[in-house]
C-alpha cells in the first residue's frame, strides 16, 4: 500500500494545467494540484463546478489536456489500466455491478490474483458487509451498497483512492464509519482525493481542500483557511460554508 518505487520528490498524484472541454463548454480549466501519500485532499465546489470531470480526466474517461502523473509517471491513458497502477475510484452513482453478488463485485478488480479470496474476505469484514457477501448487490439497501462500492475500491489496496461523494445519501453513523475507513487507508499510506458536498464531513477529514468553481481553482488551503475565504462563500451564493 505504501509507495516502494516512487521518486521521493514526486507526489502520488500530480495534476498540472488540467483542461477538459465538452464542445464549447470548458468544464475544467487549467486545474493544478497534488496529493501526497497518506494525505486526504478534498475537492469541493458547487454543482457543475467540474469535480467529477476532474476525476474522469484523471481516469482517462474523457479527453484531457495538461498532465496527470502518478508517482512521477504519466497516468494510464485507458481506464482499464488504472487498477494496475494502484488507482481506485468510486463513482458518484455507485457504479456497482447490480446483477453480481457483493463478493463477485469485489472479485472483478482483482482479476486473477492468487490471494483474491483472502483479500475479498478481509475487505468485506472490515467494511461490515461480510454477512451479505452472497447477496446480489442490487437487492441491498443504499447504505450497504455504498459500503460495497467503497470495499470494491479498497480491495485492490490502492495507492491512490478517488472517492466521488462517498458520504452522499448516508446518515451520520454511516458517515462516521466512512471517515474512519478513509483515515485508516490514508494512515496506511494511500493518497485520498475526495469530492464531497457534506461540508462538516469534509472539514473534519481533509488535510487540504481545493475549491473549484466553473472549472477553475478559486481557493485552496487547510479547512480553516478555506472556511474563511470570502471567494468560497461567494461561490456558494453567499451561504456560509458550515
Amino acid at each position: 500500500m505504501t509507495d516502494d518505487n516512487s521518486t521521493p520528490s514526486s507526489p502520488r498524484l500530480e495534476v498540472r494545467d488540467l483542461t477538459v472541454a465538452f464542445g464549447g463548454l470548458t468544464a475544467v480549466a487549467g486545474v493544478s494540484f497534488d496529493v501526497e501519500p497518506g494525505e486526504i485532499v478534498a475537492l469541493i465546489g458547487p454543482n457543475g463546478a467540474g469535480k467529477t470531470t476532474v476525476f474522469n480526466a484523471v481516469c482517462a474517461l474523457v479527453r484531457r489536456r495538461g498532465s496527470v502523473s502518478i508517482d512521477g509517471e504519466p497516468a494510464p491513458t485507458r481506464p482499464s489500466g488504472l487498477v494496475g497502477h494502484g488507482v481506485s475510484r468510486t463513482l458518484q452513482g455507485l457504479g456497482l455491478f447490480s446483477g453480481l453478488t457483493v463478493r463477485e463485485n469485489l472479485l472483478v478488480p482483482l482479476a486473477s490474483r492468487a490471494d483474491r479470496e483472502a483479500l475479498v474476505d478481509r475487505e468485506l469484514s472490515r467494511l461490515g458487509v461480510a454477512h451479505v457477501a452472497h447477496a446480489p448487490v442490487g437487492a441491498l439497501p443504499y447504505p450497504e451498497r455504498k459500503r460495497v462500492a467503497l470495499a470494491r475500491a479498497l480491495v485492490v489496496q490502492p495507492r491512490l483512492l478517488l472517492l466521488d461523494e462517498p458520504a452522499g445519501g448516508l446518515g451520520s453513523e454511516d458517515i462516521a464509519a466512512l471517515g474512519a475507513v478513509i483515515r485508516e487507508s490514508a494512515q496506511a499510506g494511500c493518497a485520498v482525493l475526495l469530492v464531497e458536498h457534506h461540508v462538516d464531513f469534509v472539514m473534519s477529514i481533509a488535510d487540504r481542500i481545493v475549491v473549484l468553481d466553473f472549472g477553475q481553482v478559486i481557493a485552496r488551503g487547510t479547512p480553516d483557511q478555506v472556511r474563511d475565504d470570502p471567494r468560497v462563500e461567494e461561490a456558494y451564493l453567499g451561504v456560509k460554508a458550515a
Partner: protein
Amino acid sequence: MNRLIPSMARTTRIVVAGAILTTIAIGGTFLLDPYRNYQLATIAAIFCATAGLTLLVGLSGQLSLGHAALMAVGGYGYALANTVLTEAGIDGALRFVIGMMAGVVTAGGLGLLLGLAAARLQGPYLAGLTLAVVIALPAVTAVFSGVLGGDEGLQTAYDGVPTLLRTAIAVEQWQAWVSILVAGVVVTALAILARGRLGLHMRAVRDDEVAAGLNGVRAGRVKVAAFTWSAVAAGAGGAVLCFVTQSVSPGAYTLAFSLLLVVAVVVGGLGSIGGAAIGSALIVLLPWLIETAAGTLELPAGLEQRLAGNVAILVFGALLIMVAIAWPARLAGARRRTRTAPKPTGTIADATTTPRDPAVPDTGSAAPTRHGSPVPRGARPDDLVAPINAPDHKSVPADQIER
C-alpha cells in the same frame, strides 16, 4: 454437487456434472423410438446454439438475432470439409472430427468479426447487424452457389452406425449419441467459461461498462470474446446438425428460426443453461406437438398445412408474452434487479421518471439527499436523476467519445 463433493475444484465439478448429464441423456436414447431419437439429436444440436446465445445475451448483454446464420456457417464448414475429405478417401471418425473443427472454426471466425463490430455498436445497431447477417444468408449461398450449392445447399456423405454397434442400435440412436456428446462437450465448456473469470467480466460489462473499465476489465475484449465463444457453440450445433441431417441449406436457417432461438432462450431464462436446454426442446417439439394435435382434429388438408407452419410461432409469441408478464426479470436478465431495491437508489430506479434536458449534459449527480451541504448554486432538478444508460460517469469511455 457443491455440497456432495466440496473439495473438488469448480472446473472439475462442472466437468463431472456435464459428464453425468451427458451419460443420462445417452442412456435415455434407449427409451426412444428412432423418430424420437432423431428429434433428440436435433434438440441436442440446437441446444449448442441456444446455450451459446444465452451466454451472449444473458451474461454479456449483447443481443444477437443472427445465431441461425452462425449455425448455418458451422453446417457449411462441416459440409465443405466433409466433401473434400470424402474425395480424399478419408472417412469415419477422422472425417467427422475434422468436419466439426472446420464448422466450429468458420463460425468462430464470423463470430469474431461480428464481435469486433459489436464492441463498437450499441443495442439496436448490433441487433440490426446480426439480423442483416441472417437475412443475407440465402443471397450469399446464391452468389457462391458453385461452392455453397445455392438454395439446394450441400449434401454430405452418410455416416452409418459404427460396425461394433451396428447390430445393437439404429442409425437415429447413433446420431443422437453423437449429437448429445457434442452438446455435452460444448455446453460443459460454456459452463466453465461462464463460471470463470470471463463469465464474471462479461456480467460486469453487462451491468456497467464504465465501472468495469475502472475495475481493470477491458470491456471491448470481453465482448469480442463472448461473441466468439457464442459463435463457436452455435457453429458446433450447426455442424452436428449437418451430420444428423446429412445436409445444410439456407432454407433450414431462416429468419424465423433465428428469432425462435432468441425467444427460446428468453423463455428458458436468460443466462440459464437449463433454460437453453428447455428452449431447444421447445423449438423442436412444439411444431411437432401442434402438428400432431392438428392431425387428430381432422382438419382439411390445406388448413392443416397452414396451421403447422404458423401456430408454433404463434405459441412461441404467446409464451414470450406470458413470460414477460409473469417474470419480467427473465427478459432483462439479472441486470434490472436494482429496480426492486429499496430507495434511495443509486442510478437506475428513478432514471426514467424525469425527462432530461438534452441541452444540459448530465452531471451525473445521482446522489440522493445531501446532508449538511451548502445550498448548491443553480441546482437542477435533473441533477437528482441519471439517465438509464449513463450513470454518473456519463462521460463516455475515451474510445467511444464523440460518436
